[in-house]
Structures are given as C-alpha cells and as structure tokens.
Amino acid sequence: MFQRGVVAIGRLTVNGIWKIGAGTAFIGNVIARSKMTFARPRLFINEIYFAGTLSLIIIVVSGLFVGLVLGLQGYETLKRYGSAEAVGTLVALSLVRELGPVVAALLFASRAGSAMTAKIGIMKSSDQLSAMEMMAVDPFQRVITPMFWGGFFSMPLLAAIFSAMGILGGYLITVVVIGVDGGAFWSQMQASVDFQGDILNGIYKSIVFGFAVNAIALFEGFDCLPTAEGVSRAVTRTVVTSALAILALDFVLTAFMFTGA
C-alpha cells in the first residue's frame, strides 16, 4: 500500500518531467521550423482567420457585457462616495490591466485552443500526419507552425478588442443610460491610465498568454493518444491546463509589473 503510493508519486513526477521536456522540445521545434509559415503567407492568413476572426464574435460580445457589468457595479458603489465619474477609471484600469488579457485568453483557449487540439488530434488519429510525412511534407511546417503563429498573432489583437469593447460597454451603461457626465468619464480615465504602465503591460500580458495557450493547445493535440477518447481527453486537458497557466502567469506578471511603483 505504502509502496504503491510512492510508486504513484514517482510515476507522476517522471510523467510531469517528461511532459515539460517534450513540450519544450516541441515548442523549440515549432519555432525552429517556422520559415515556411512566413514564406507562404496563405497558410498563416488561413490560421488567423481560424483563430482570430472566428473568435471575434465571442470576444466582442463578452467584452461588451463585462464592461456593462463593471460599469453598473462600479457606479453603484462609487456613487455612495459621490465620485460616480471615477467609474471610467475603474472600468478602464480593471479591463486594460487584468480582465482584458485574462478573460480574452480564457475565451481564446476554450474557443480556438480546443479546436486546434481537436484538429491536430484527429489528424493524428486518422494518420493524416503520417500520410504527410510519407509524401515528404513536414506536418510541423505545413500544419502546426502556421497554427501557432496565427494564434500568437491574434491573441493581443483579441485582448485589445475585448478591452476596447468593455470600455465602450462601461461608457454605454454609465454615461448613456445612467447619465454620468461623459466629459468627466473620459478625462478621469485619461488622467489615470498610463500608456506605458497600464496599456503596454496589458499587451505584454496578452502576448505571453497567447504564447502559452497556443503552445499548450498544439502540444496536447500532438501528444494525444490516437483514439477518439484520447482526442477528447486532450481537448479537456487543453482547456484546463490553459486556464490554470493563464491565471498562474497572470499572477506572476502582475507581481512583476504592478508592484514597486
């Protein structure tokens, strides 16, 4: 009993280390073989369509609703202190610093990341990847690398759209519907949102998240057992691991970026 427990711990450790190593090697491979992606922009554009454009609707709609809720809740609290105009600052800072990059990355992981894993997993289980190799086409260069760069490029843009829509949502609910002064809304926001400290840091965050989510999604797809169940498990792992990675990375990045000032 005791021995079995130790064996289980040992197996978990070995598997974990194997996964870290294989994942790193995989990403190194992807980046090393990315020449073809840029030599054939058609592949790259198709993947931007797949990862970015098709995620646009969910990003726009959720951004708008997150902004509406933030505006409403912020207004309800701030009006008690007679500073309802500061709601613009609240909405903008929370979106640009945290919610924009994080929620957009979570949505991206569930919408595009899971689809990437499923696509590669099914290609693997139906031997399409092996077939490509037989035809002397490198599946890394032809399939995986364009997906990686397409998703990596789309992520910061999606996060920016999410933040912008959220701020517009906050504006709609507080200024247009409730009647907070519009000039004060924008001017207080502009006075307290710093381009370098807040907006650029938010973009850096979304770049890091984009890298992590795409790497996880592609690796899980590539690493899955080539069966129906294996693919379904890989898709689940993509969403769970991405969500955990995003939240953990967000904490680390926030600790570095927004303290000590």
Partner: protein, 156 residues
C-alpha cells in the same frame, strides 16, 4: 470558403484589432500627454512629505508640468530630498517655491510649483529653496485643539 472571403474577414479582424489598440492608446490612455523622459531635474528639501509617492505629478497653476522621480531621506539635514523631473518646455524662475498639496479631501498628494519673479531660470540640478511641507492631519488637529484650549483658558 473562397480565398477572397477569408482575406476580407481577416482584414476586418486585423483592422478591428489595431483600431482597438489605437482606441486604448489615445482615447483611454493619454499617449498625448507630454513625456517627461526628456526634461530637467530639480530637487527640493521638505521637512515632511506626508504621503507623497514617486511618479506623483508636479503641477503649476493646476497644469501637470513634471513628475516626482525620486524621494530620499537626507541623513545630513534630516529632511526628505525630492527630485522632480520637469518637462523641458516649461521654464520657471529660480526663486520658485514648491509645496505639497492634496487633490481633494482624500485625493493623492502632488507637488504644487509656484513661479517666482527671478530673471534667472531653473536649470538641471538646481535646488528649490522655498518649500512648504505636507499638511499632516494629526498635527493640524492637534494645533486646533491646543488653540481652543488656550482660548477657553484665557476666558476664565
């Protein structure tokens, strides 16, 4: 799907993304704010800086003209030495004075710079001599109570 349609939609997505970034940069943030990266540094010594923080604004006539760059404790004079970087397009006379003020009742603290009448201008590395410390609420209340007490003592 036809190649042209994909191109169109990717174009829409990328344009929307960059519009979002521009919106964040210019409408939400204030990229139009002058950058104080270039400018000159002047210092001032205060008896008490209250809650002043680095990066707090330096305002003259209500306009932001610079930012606090560094606050250190001067062990020789036992006062706080505040370095502030002023935008190079702003010029102030050498006998200008600085005071630590509070925005609103509970707002953050900033440095107010009042121009003097000297013909010579402040240059990089100068020290402003005329300073007024932050108002510390406890001290003000203590003073007020002390005055009240001495007033009522005089009446009797």
């Amino acid at each position: 799907m036809a190649r042209g349609t994909i191109d169109l939609w990717v174009g829409i997505f990328v344009t929307a993304g960059f519009l979002g970034l521009l919106f964040l940069a210019f409408k939400v943030g204030s990229a139009t704010n002058f950058s104080v990266a270039e400018g000159y540094v002047v210092t001032a010594e205060f008896d008490n800086i209250g809650g002043l923080k680095t990066k707090a604004p330096v305002k003259s006539a209500g306009v932001v003209v610079g930012r606090i760059e560094k606050i250190v404790f001067n062990n020789r004079t036992l006062r706080a030495t505040v370095s502030m970087r002023l935008g190079k397009q702003f010029e102030f006379p050498r006998d200008s004075s600085v005071s630590i003020l509070t925005a609103g009742l509970l707002g953050e603290q900033y440095v107010g710079l009042d121009g003097g009448g000297d013909v010579e201008l402040l240059v990089d590395g100068d020290q402003i001599v005329l300073t007024q410390s932050a108002m510390v609420l406890e001290k003000v209340i203590g003073q007020f109570l002390f005055n009240k007490a001495s007033e009522s003592g005089g009446d009797k």
